[in-house]
């Protein structure tokens, strides 16, 4: 509608451990996507572990402190910028720390005291955001549609949201029937299927601890996605992506059913659609569905700038 563009809002970025390790493709594709969308991003200086999973389960207080330090640094970084946390576990623990510090005075006091001891400012006022919600609300479906530079000729996608981004806080999307990933993908011309397991458990770290249970949960997710006609799955969480991607051959062996489908990050598909450099989207890092990834996304440079 309006042609005058407001100055693009900039964001602070909290990578967390996953996006520097198993979730490297998430970081690469997100940076490429945001560059294409001209969204300025600055990595939070001196960030530390977010405090998720094992910390939160074993020593909640320490988890809150770790998380609070990151929030405090973000506050210090200034500019009233929102803190973008792409990893679902990081997002949840940062959000939970803010919430609990406010809801339970004893936790709030403890966090405030420890920040004071470390000579850090209070952590309030920083808004923790997830890229899905940020893309949906700040960039918007229409802008993405306008930025499409490649035509999708690959298969249908099952959008898998996982649990941590939508519950218990439902700011990223609706708790039980989230639809924003579907909306964004359809806007850039990528078809999605109706996937009723979209917020069911991927097993989390159970694949490492109680392996059988973790494998079974992933089997159900894969099987249902295929049954619904999906030829790939897309996620917004490094752990979901890891579980669904890396165990397909093991699941195939166990169940005598053949699974070999790509498991993408949302930012890979969007980044590809808006014309991102295929070498910078981390597509080479996927374990399963290699042939599909190559056929759909890497060998059709010719269709690139059709707009």
């Amino acid at each position: 509608m309006s042609t005058t563009k407001p100055t693009q809002k900039s964001y602070l970025y909290f990578p967390g451990c996953s996006l520097r390790a198993t979730g490297k493709a998430y970081e690469e594709s997100m940076l490429e996507l945001f560059q294409r969308l001209e969204v300025p991003l600055e990595e939070l200086d001196d960030w530390n572990c977010c405090g998720a999973t094992s910390y939160m389960a074993i020593d909640e207080d320490s988890a809150f402190m770790l998380s609070a330090r990151n929030l405090s640094l973000a506050h210090q970084a200034g500019g009233g910028r929102d803190l973008l946390a792409p990893c679902a576990a990081c997002y949840l623990v940062l959000r939970k720390t803010q919430d609990y510090a406010q809801k339970y005075p004893s936790i709030g006091r403890e966090v405030a005291d420890s920040l004071k001891t470390a000579h850090l400012p209070a952590m309030n006022s920083v808004k923790v955001r997830h890229p899905l919600e940020m893309l949906y609300n700040d960039v918007g479906v229409e802008k993405l549609r306008g930025k499409v530079a490649r035509h999708w000729h690959g298969g249908h996608i099952a959008c898998y949201y996982g649990c941590q981004t939508v519950r218990p806080y439902s700011e990223v999307d609706k708790a039980y029937n989230p639809t924003r990933m579907d909306e964004l993908l359809r806007a850039v011309g990528i078809p999605t299927v109706d996937y009723s397991l979209k917020t069911k458990c991927c097993g989390g770290s159970l694949t490492g601890t109680i392996h059988d249970v973790g494998i079974r949960l992933n089997y159900v997710l894969l099987k249902e996605a295929v049954r619904k006609g999906a030829q790939a799955i897309v996620t917004i969480c490094p752990l979901c992506q890891f579980n669904l991607d890396t165990y397909q051959s093991e699941i195939s062996k166990q169940t005598k059913e053949h699974f070999d489908i790509p498991v993408f990050y949302l930012t890979q598909l969007l980044g590809w659609a808006v014309g991102g450099d295929v070498d910078k989207l981390g597509l080479q890092r996927g374990v399963s569905g290699r042939k599909a990834i190559k056929d759909w996304m890497m060998s059709h440079e010719g269709v690139e700038s059709y707009v």
């Binding site: 039980y176 029937n177 009723s196 397991l197 159900v220 249902e224 049954r227």
Partner: protein, 664 residues
């Protein structure tokens, strides 16, 4: 402020209320303290002041000690102010020379520190003693009662209340906003546990309403305004056009047949949107009044003005169809009002885990009532949306009941209607039926026996709250089915049960507009939103507004027998009120000191009861004490302080405040 010899003599009574007060407040110490206060002639504590001996104590003291003021420290005045005022009157004292102190709800029930609670009781008693000295004698006034009754809502509750009153010879106005009376009960097929046909027992009562000489029935109508007071309510009723002349329509329904729409295109509300109806229609075959109506949103004549009007042709000489009918307002005077506005069922979409609105074969219980009903959309066949008969059916109890996320209350009827539906589904289709319940609640007459009968019929009972209804299959046996995932808490493991049809036993909720209705009639709601009764045990059909009574599910979920019993009780209460012929009005009303009123009119718009008028010639405000409810709003608003409220005069309130602060 004193008796004949110039001194005031006060009696103070501290009630233990068994251990309710006595276990926390040191009652003898409070009585001893009160004995030392100025003007106190007698001070006592007693186990139950409200008992006969307790009241007798006051009466004797008034006579023997020539008391002229009484302070009772006990429970809320809401409970026993009337009791003690009567005791004063019995002893020949003006009953408004009483002041009550609430040391139960305001003290012993909310404090655990005994010493502090006792000190608080002493402070409150001191305040009352100083206040009561200034009390003036007041008289109640009598007002005549209009002998007619308004019943709002034409479900089984409203119908039963209206018939009871009309049979007793009272004039009744029955107002219903739907085009037919009958309410939810008219939609049901059978009624538990006797399996009486709902229509067979309801429709005779519906036609009685229509033909009763003492009942004026207004359908498609809604109460829009209520003014006045107990015994003399003035009510405005808005009547929407039916576009049919009621006196001319004979219910032949030839117009429906003749409508230019060959097939219905509009979702049929009565059939829970499971079928379509035409723009001219009758809600259901036994509708009362037995006449058609036109839905202007879907009628071509209303939308374009260019319909062939084949309905008018079919109606012929009777000329019952009137496209120009307008909304009308009727004004009536009644002595009492019975609210029987019913409930709405829980919106199953609010629990996305159960897939209502997502999977076509997930139904609500009310939809299944229509499916199983012979006059319903499938003529009594229980079939899925594709026309096939289900081989396995899962019924989920407590959908929107007993759930922290939605409603905390138990809806009371779902266990039994779920069993009833299980029986009917099994009988009609031979399907395997699974009931998923949290607890089976079958406390009514014949209910437990019915449950046993169902168990013998081979209905599967699974104790556990269903986690989700989903369409994902783990193995071929689940393909194309709806899978219920549930922890079977009796067997002790998680189960997956594939079925063809899921029935959600939706709970009962207050009507969408319950809060507006509450305000219209000036009554209160319970925390869940149902209308609040005056007392949960002892005044279950009364409200805090005199002359307004409750019947049926608007007060809380209940089954048909309980609803009918309550409707009868509400009718009896209304009868007792209007047969007395007059009511006594409380004298705690406000009045204007005419010499001091400046005529600024500030008070006029403040009065919620429209009791204040302005006398132009004399240039001052005037309060109709019959309309005044003693809320005190005008007293506080008057800039010149020239409005005074009986029992709440400034001096009395100041003295009470000084008393509680122990201020000289």
């Amino acid at each position: 402020m004193s008796n004949s010899n110039g001194t005031v003599r006060i009696g103070v009574y501290i009630c233990h209320c068994g251990s309710n007060i006595g276990a926390v407040v040191n009652c003898p110490a409070v009585a001893e303290y009160a004995a030392g206060l100025p003007h106190v002639a007698v001070s006592r504590d007693y186990k139950y002041m409200c008992s006969d001996p307790g009241q007798e104590l006051i009466i004797q003291d008034i006579r023997e000690h020539k008391l002229d003021r009484v302070v009772v420290a006990s429970c809320s005045p809401l409970l026993h102010e009337h009791t003690f005022r009567e005791a004063l009157a019995h002893a020949g004292l003006n009953s408004f020379f009483l002041q009550m102190v609430n040391i139960r709800e305001h003290d012993s029930w909310v404090h655990s520190d005994h010493a502090a609670a006792t000190a608080k009781a002493q402070d409150l008693v001191r305040a009352a003693v100083r206040r009561v000295v200034l009390h003036k004698p007041l008289e109640r006034r009598q007002v005549d009662i209009d002998a007619s009754v308004l019943v709002v809502g034409g479900g089984i509750a409203g119908i039963h209340a209206a018939l009871t009153l009309a049979n007793a010879g009272k004039k009744v106005y029955l107002v219903e906003r739907e085009p037919s009376i009958g309410g939810h009960m008219a939609k049901f097929d059978k009624t538990f546990p006797t399996m009486d046909c709902a229509a067979c027992i309801l429709t005779p009562k519906m036609t009685q309403v229509r033909s009763h000489k003492n009942i004026t029935l207004w359908t498609l109508s809604e109460v829009s305004q209520v003014s006045g007071y107990v015994g003399n309510y003035e009510v405005k009723v808005k009547r929407w056009p039916r576009y049919i002349l009621e006196d001319a329509c004979i219910g032949c329904q030839e117009c429906i047949e003749a409508c230019v729409f060959k097939q219905g295109k509009t979702e049929d509300e009565f059939n829970e949107k499971l079928s379509k109806r035409k723009p001219i229609y009758i809600p259901f075959p036994q509708a009362v009044p037995q006449m058609v109506l036109i839905d202007p949103d879907n009628c071509i004549q209303f939308k374009s003005g260019r319909c062939k009007k084949t309905c008018v042709e079919a109606c012929g000489e009777r000329k019952a169809i009137r496209f120009d009918q307008q909304e009308a307002i009727e004004t009536i005077k009644v002595g009492a009002i019975i609210l029987a506005t019913g409930f709405k069922t829980f919106d199953a979409k609010r629990i996305p885990d159960y897939g209502y609105g997502v999977y076509p074969n997930v139904y609500t219980s009310l939809e299944v009532e229509r499916l199983v009903n012979a006059s319903g959309p499938t003529a009594g066949e229980i079939v899925l949306r594709d026309g096939s008969t289900p081989k396995a059916v899962g019924i989920i109890h407590c959908v929107g009941s007993r759930d922290e996320r939605t409603n905390r209350h138990c809806s009371r009827v779902c266990c039994m209607y779920s069993l009833k539906l299980a029986h009917l589904i099994k009988e009609h289709t031979g399907a395997e039926v699974f009931n998923f319940y949290i607890d089976m609640r079958t406390p009514g007459k014949g209910f437990e026996e019915f449950y046993q009968q169902l168990l013998n019929e081979g209905v599967h009972m699974v104790r556990g709250r269903v986690a989700e209804v989903a369409d994902w299959a783990l193995d071929p046996s689940e393909e194309g089915k709806l899978v219920l995932r549930v922890e079977d808490t009796l067997a002790g493991f998680a189960r997956r049960i594939p079925v063809d049809m899921v029935v959600l036993s939706v709970g009962l909720e207050p009507q969408e507009d319950a809060d507006e209705v509450r305000r219209l009639f000036n009554i209160s709601c319970s925390p869940g939103g149902f209308f609040l009764e005056r007392h949960p045990k002892l005044a279950p059909v009364s409200t805090f507004t005199d002359g307004i009574f409750l019947a049926g599910c608007c007060q809380g979920p209940k089954d048909i027998p309980d609803t009918v019993a309550q409707a009868g009780a509400a009718a009896a209460e209304a009868l007792a009120l209007i047969d007395a012929g007059h009511v006594e009005m409380e004298p705690n009303t406000a009045h204007v000191i005419e010499e001091e009123c400046s005529g600024c009119k500030t008070c006029l718009p403040m009065c919620p009861y429209s009791a204040i008028t302005f006398k132009e010639e004399e240039h001052h405000a005037w309060i109709n004490e019959v309309l005044c409810k003693g809320c005190g709003t005008c007293v506080a608003a008057c800039p010149s302080g020239s409005i005074v409220q009986n029992l709440f005069e400034d001096e009395e309130i100041y003295e009470e405040i000084k008393g509680v602060l122990n201020y000289a």
